[in-house]
């Protein structure tokens, strides 16, 4: 190493750390600014009427109830398909899968599912669910599309949570006569539950905020009523925000910020729930 006095080295270190701190601040502050800005601009729009009313006057007045309910439906529908499938796949990978070529292929497939652009999921949903299976532009088609997109998030976080359960738990359970599945259901799943829940919520959070996959599979531009069945199209918060900020001229700015705020609260509420579950479980964990 070249001869540099220790004071110079300390100066370089201080400059370096200062630089890193500055870069981190530049990364983090805009995130907080975005959230604070939307809250401050959007909260004047929030009223009971805004949350519980139907849009009227070409969506330039009234409320956004159909979009809120629609996003709830889509999130629930996504959960219905993605949670059982995703958790089961995670159980397979964590508890059953042998270390062979097929398992590696499954892992590569999961990584690739996670990387596929959301609009390509939209195309796939259009091709398979809307046209081929004839579900039409519907809540069903959109939920199925979103659930496949959510799957990799749920599988990988749930698998990680299952693997974190110490091996000794399994050994003890098996040695007192439980079968493999009984061990998984009563011991491993129970211990891994907070981690799995965190993964599920983070996956659903992403589904709730997505627009591109539902564009051609289930989103309605405007619907004067609530969807009546799984085969109806529905309004949704993210798509509604896109519509009123780009497609409707003379849209009152307050309604736009109000809609953005409701979407943000919806998504960040899920994010916060996940963070709380995780930190609580971590604090309580005894192993």
């Amino acid at each position: 190493m070249n001869r540099v006095s220790s004071s110079t080295r300390n100066l370089i270190q201080r400059l370096g750390f200062g630089f890193l701190t500055l870069m981190t601040i530049f990364t983090v502050v805009p995130i907080i600014a975005v959230v604070v800005y939307i809250i401050s601009k959007g909260s004047p729009a929030i009223s009971w009427e805004f949350l519980s009313g139907f849009p009227h006057d070409g969506m330039r007045a009234g409320g956004i109830l159909p979009a809120i309910i629609g996003t709830l439906y889509l999130t629930l529908g996504t959960a219905l398909f993605a949670v059982p499938l995703g958790v089961a796949a995670a159980i397979y990978l964590a508890e059953y899968a042998p270390d062979n070529r097929w398992t590696r292929l499954i892992r590569i497939a999961i990584i690739n599912l996670a990387g596929i652009p959301s609009v390509v999921y939209g195309l796939f949903g259009l091709g398979l669910f809307v046209i081929f299976l004839k579900f039409g532009t519907s809540i069903l088609a959109a939920s199925l599309t979103l659930s496949i997109m959510t799957l990799p998030v749920i599988i990988s976080t749930a698998e990680e949570a299952l693997r974190a359960v110490p091996q000794s738990f399994r050994t003890v359970s098996i040695s007192v006569g439980a079968t493999r599945w009984q061990t998984i259901r009563r011991i491993v799943l129970k211990e891994a539950l907070p981690g799995i829940l965190t993964g599920i919520i983070l996956g659903l959070e992403r589904a709730a905020g997505e627009t591109a996959p539902i564009l051609f599979t289930g989103a309605a531009f405007f619907l004067p009523r609530l969807p009546g069945s799984l085969f109806d199209a529905t309004m949704a918060l993210p798509y509604h925000l896109f519509v009123i900020s780009t497609q409707v001229p003379d849209m009152p700015i307050q309604i736009q910020y109000g809609t953005a705020l409701v979407l943000l609260v919806f998504v960040l509420g899920m994010n916060l729930t996940a963070t709380i579950i995780r930190s609580r479980a971590r604090a309580r964990r005894q192993w």
Partner: protein, 298 residues
């Protein structure tokens, strides 16, 4: 009782195994439908016409070069922004910050990952692009630059979390060795920890690229959507249009089975193959480096 238990266990185990393989089925199904709806393009539009610079579907001009270059320039711009900020933040969180700062920073970065892209696009229209227009004295603020800035933000959480994992998994003994030789913490980060985590950092960047090139709503909202060839640095200051935005904007209006419809699926196929390549490259880097680390440690 023994018997019914075994029987149930058998069924459940089977179901779990089938679920385990579902990911492969879905990737295959996605590829199948993209091929099925996208490949007819090659019979309807010649490759030469596809590789032109004119995208004007109403008059049957299906040149996808403007869309390809639009996606590329925005991704390059996004990575120029996301790489330094993402890596610096990852190093800060993993190597410099005290524990309590780390516990605050990580959820905030995760929060960014959860922000719906349509919200960022919305702010891009109302706040960022008017600001850029005035600052840079442009005819419109809806430019590749606005798209790059927002996409950079979207790629940052991906880069931070993967790069931070990579830095975390560098064995502590490496750092202790460097300190014992009298290196400062800064020198250790710069010459030991970062080089040791090199492959993880590379993976982070690749997945960041994948994240950026596939993003749809934000770019559709803030880049102005003009399908013009974007190959000079000056293109950053004019409107462009990406592959993703083209699909999202036009698929709603085309007749199922038309040439335009097939071409949009074809573009989807190109996006799928790009993301496949990026992800396989990224994961092979991880596997290779893991093997190398195992060799060194054993």
């Amino acid at each position: 009782m023994e018997k019914s238990l075994n029987w149930r266990e058998y069924i459940i185990t089977r179901l779990i195994r089938v679920s385990g393989y579902s990911a492969i089925v879905f990737v295959a199904a996605i590829l199948y439908f993209l091929l099925r709806e996208g490949l007819p393009t090659l019979g309807e539009v010649s490759i030469r016409d596809l590789l032109t610079i004119r995208w004007y579907p109403i008059e049957n001009y299906f040149g996808i070069l403007p869309l390809l270059t639009g996606s590329l320039i925005i991704t390059v711009g996004a990575m120029l922004i996301a790489f330094p900020f993402g890596i610096a933040t990852a190093v800060f969180i993993s190597e410099v910050a005290p524990r309590w700062v780390r516990e605050i920073l990580k959820p905030i970065v995760e929060l960014l990952a959860g922000l719906p892209s349509v919200v960022l696009g919305f702010l891009g229209i109302l706040v960022l692009s008017p600001y850029l227009r005035i600052l840079l004295d442009l005819p419109t603020g809806l430019t590749a630059l606005a798209g790059s800035i927002l996409l950079g933000g979207i790629a940052v959480p991906t880069i931070v979390s993967i790069a931070e994992d990579a830095l975390d998994s560098v064995p502590r003994s490496y750092r202790e060795g460097a300190w014992a030789l009298g290196a400062t913490r800064w020198q250790t980060i710069w010459r030991v920890t970062l080089p040791a985590a090199r492959s993880g950092v590379l993976t982070a960047v690749m997945l960041g690229i994948g994240r950026a090139i596939g993003e749809t709503m934000t770019v559709m909202m803030v880049t102005g959507n003009a399908p013009v060839l974007a190959i000079t640095p000056g293109s950053f200051f004019s409107p462009v249009r990406t592959m993703t935005a083209t699909i999202a904007a036009e698929m709603g209006e085309v007749a199922s089975g038309s040439v335009h419809y097939h071409v949009l699926f074809f573009i989807g196929l190109v996006l799928f193959l790009i993301s496949l390549a990026v992800n396989i490259a990224a994961s092979s880097v991880v596997f290779r480096s893991k093997k190398r680390a195992e060799r060194i440690l054993s």
